[in-house]
């Protein structure tokens, strides 16, 4: 059995990256992800890997561009304000089709406390151009560790940036994490990597551009041909990579919907509700994009009601409403339902149960 460590979620990111053979980390300090950048500063150089501290998050994301374009696995981590600065880079990485990972340890708007306020920004593509990136939402230290490996696999498979959406609670909480190395299907060779012509198989130069469609390349002679390819790629991700977890869904009349740490809160509420004889189930989207719309569509046809629980003012609820298309009631438990009406407050299972009983 693999080694087990009692570590913070932010450190689990590091161990997961190592298991995925990530070669380079670029980052800038920001609360609440500082333990992550400190982990990489401590552990990467001594293993012959690259650690580089940037001068801003604009710097981090562009250093990440530089790392990814050489074909090695590279990553950065940040929190909300840094994520905002990275949006131009996200557009560029998506256009240049460069695989990499961005870990976003969310905080509550501009407090340094926990929340889930960046759902819309990560799932809708916060930059310019209309791109989408795969978003994985772990709920524990173990999943943070494992999703780093899954994330790099998906990034390489589809040549796209992948966002791992953590938050202050997952990042700061210490949990037991098994340092397992996961197996994945073989990946295509990175013959596009820019490393100098000496490594080019056909002797031709490689050219990576953030303006695919503007400067003509053999692959994309114009913008519309690039758009067509890009859309096909997004469709293929939507078709093949939707991931979610369900609990007691078969006979459920009331369905809780939550991602990240809140899904664990809902897990407790679910147990209490079942004890009371309420037919409650849970859907936890793991990929926030692509959103698991189909399961919502199916369940909306059974007459079930939905209660979306998220630690923000209501962001994922819009995706749920889009998926059920008005066929089912959709209710919300938001940051306004925290046990204390301050930034230290959190959504407690009691509150979720209370809301459930209200709806019923």
């Amino acid at each position: 059995m693999a080694e087990k460590l009692l570590i913070q979620g932010n450190e689990a990111i590091g161990w997961g990256a190592l298991a995925a053979d990530c070669k380079a980390f670029f980052g800038y300090p920001i609360t609440p992800q500082n333990e992550a950048i400190e982990w990489f500063a401590r552990e990467f150089p001594q293993r012959g890997r690259v650690f580089l501290q940037s001068a801003s998050e604009c710097g981090s994301i562009n250093m990440l561009h530089g790392g990814a374009v050489t074909g090695v696995r590279a990553m950065t981590s940040t929190s909300g304000p840094g994520w905002a600065l990275m949006q131009e880079g996200m557009s560029n990485l998506s256009n240049a089709e460069l695989p990499c990972i961005i870990v976003l340890v969310q905080r509550g708007w501009n407090t340094t406390r926990h929340a889930q306020t960046d759902y819309t920004s990560v799932t809708q593509g916060g930059g310019y151009g209309g791109y989408k990136t795969i978003v994985l939402a772990p709920k524990s230290g173990q999943e943070l560790h494992d999703f780093m490996q899954l994330g790099f696999y998906l990034a390489d498979k589809y040549r796209t940036p992948v966002v791992i959406l953590s938050d202050a609670i997952l990042g700061q909480m210490m949990e037991s994490v098994e340092l397992q190395t996961l197996d994945f299907e073989p990946l295509p060779e990175k013959d596009w990597a820019v490393t100098g012509k000496k490594d080019s198989k056909d002797g031709n130069r490689r050219f990576s551009s953030i303006a695919q469609g503007m400067l003509p390349t053999p692959r994309h002679p114009n913008l519309c041909s690039f758009w067509e390819d890009y859309k096909n790629k997004l469709d293929s991700i939507k078709e093949n990579e939707v991931r979610y977890e369900t609990s007691q869904l078969d006979d459920a009349e009331f369905i809780l919907v939550a991602f990240g740490y809140v899904a664990r809160v809902c897990g407790q509420a679910l147990l209490w509700a079942r004890d009371k004889g309420l037919k409650v189930g849970l859907i936890r989207p793991i990929t926030l994009w692509p959103f698991p719309s189909k399961i919502f569509e199916e369940k909306s046809l059974t007459g079930a009601k939905f209660l979306v629980v998220e630690d923000n003012m209501g962001q994922m609820i819009e995706d749920v409403k889009l998926s059920v298309q008005g066929r089912a009631e959709v209710h919300l438990v938001s940051s306004l339902d925290r046990h204390l009406p301050i930034e230290e407050g959190a959504i407690y299972p009691e509150k979720v149960l209370e809301k459930l009983e209200e709806i019923i």
Binding site: G59, G67, A211
Partner: protein
């Protein structure tokens, strides 16, 4: 009768289907030609990576036959730093940028790459305005210069130009800093020498190297090509003197 090719299209120049990549009299082509020649003369064709930003300089990513990356406006300094650290000392990483790309939007990457003494080389083509977008005020526009965003001439209220070579030359992490121009065949050769020295610093792993190249922009200066060469000599060089500003073999 036997003959020998002396000069003209460099080996690394790519013949592209676009008709004219630069306006008549724009010396960006001259600068890219010099870059092709220098990389070739150093024998680094297969071990070089060119990182370009956004602006007229972007054309370098199409014209030079080495592995190239086109990145965000102003960000070649960051991208190149990361690439060099991943690829190691055997690969020469070169950034090709304009003056806005280097000293306005790209000031942070440039200054910090220099301060970290990244083992990369930055070539900045300075044409004293934003060429691609139609001739707006740049951080290198000279005092009094009329641009589309300083229609009455650059005044103290617009601020003062940044002397990139002197500024970067003052940083501890910089191994080499120089400024050249192409106002004469002699200057062409001298500037090429600066470019070669800068790349030499990278080859010898000394640290960050920087060369600024003054270039004409007749279309946006509203001058004939010949007049714009004269304008460089009379208006730019007094404010942007040519020469080497730092040249050390070890960063201390």
């Amino acid at each position: 009768m036997e003959e020998k090719w002396i000069a003209g299209t460099p080996k690394l120049w790519r013949d592209i289907p676009l008709i004219i990549p630069f306006c008549p009299g724009c010396q960006h082509g001259t600068a890219i030609k010099a870059l092709c020649e220098v990389i070739d003369e150093l024998g680094m064709e297969n071990n070089s990576v060119l990182v370009v930003g956004v602006g007229c300089n972007t054309m370098a990513s199409v014209l030079v036959n080495v592995d190239s990356v086109m990145v965000a406006h102003g960000r070649p300094g960051d991208v190149a730093s990361a690439m060099k650290r991943v690829l190691g000392k055997d690969t020469m990483v070169i950034t090709w940028q304009g003056d806005g790309d280097t000293l306005a939007i790209g000031c942070e990457p440039t200054v910090h790459a220099a301060a970290r003494s990244e083992n990369i080389t930055t070539f900045m083509v300075n044409n004293a305005n934003y060429g691609t977008t139609g001739g707006q005020l740049a951080p290198t526009s000279v005092m009094g210069q009329v641009t589309t965003t300083s229609p009455l001439g650059r005044t103290p209220s617009h601020g003062y130009p940044i002397q990139g070579s002197e500024f970067l030359g003052s940083l501890r992490g910089v191994a080499y800093s120089a400024r050249g121009a192409f106002t004469s065949p002699a200057n062409y050769q001298k500037t090429k020498k600066y470019m070669k020295r800068a790349l030499g610093k990278q080859k010898d792993c000394v640290g960050y190297s920087f060369v600024e190249i003054l270039s004409t922009c007749p279309a946006n200066w509203h001058m004939s090509p010949i007049e714009s060469l004269k304008w460089i000599e009379e208006e730019m060089i007094p404010q942007f003197p040519l020469g080497e500003f730092k040249n050390v073999d070890k960063i201390e």
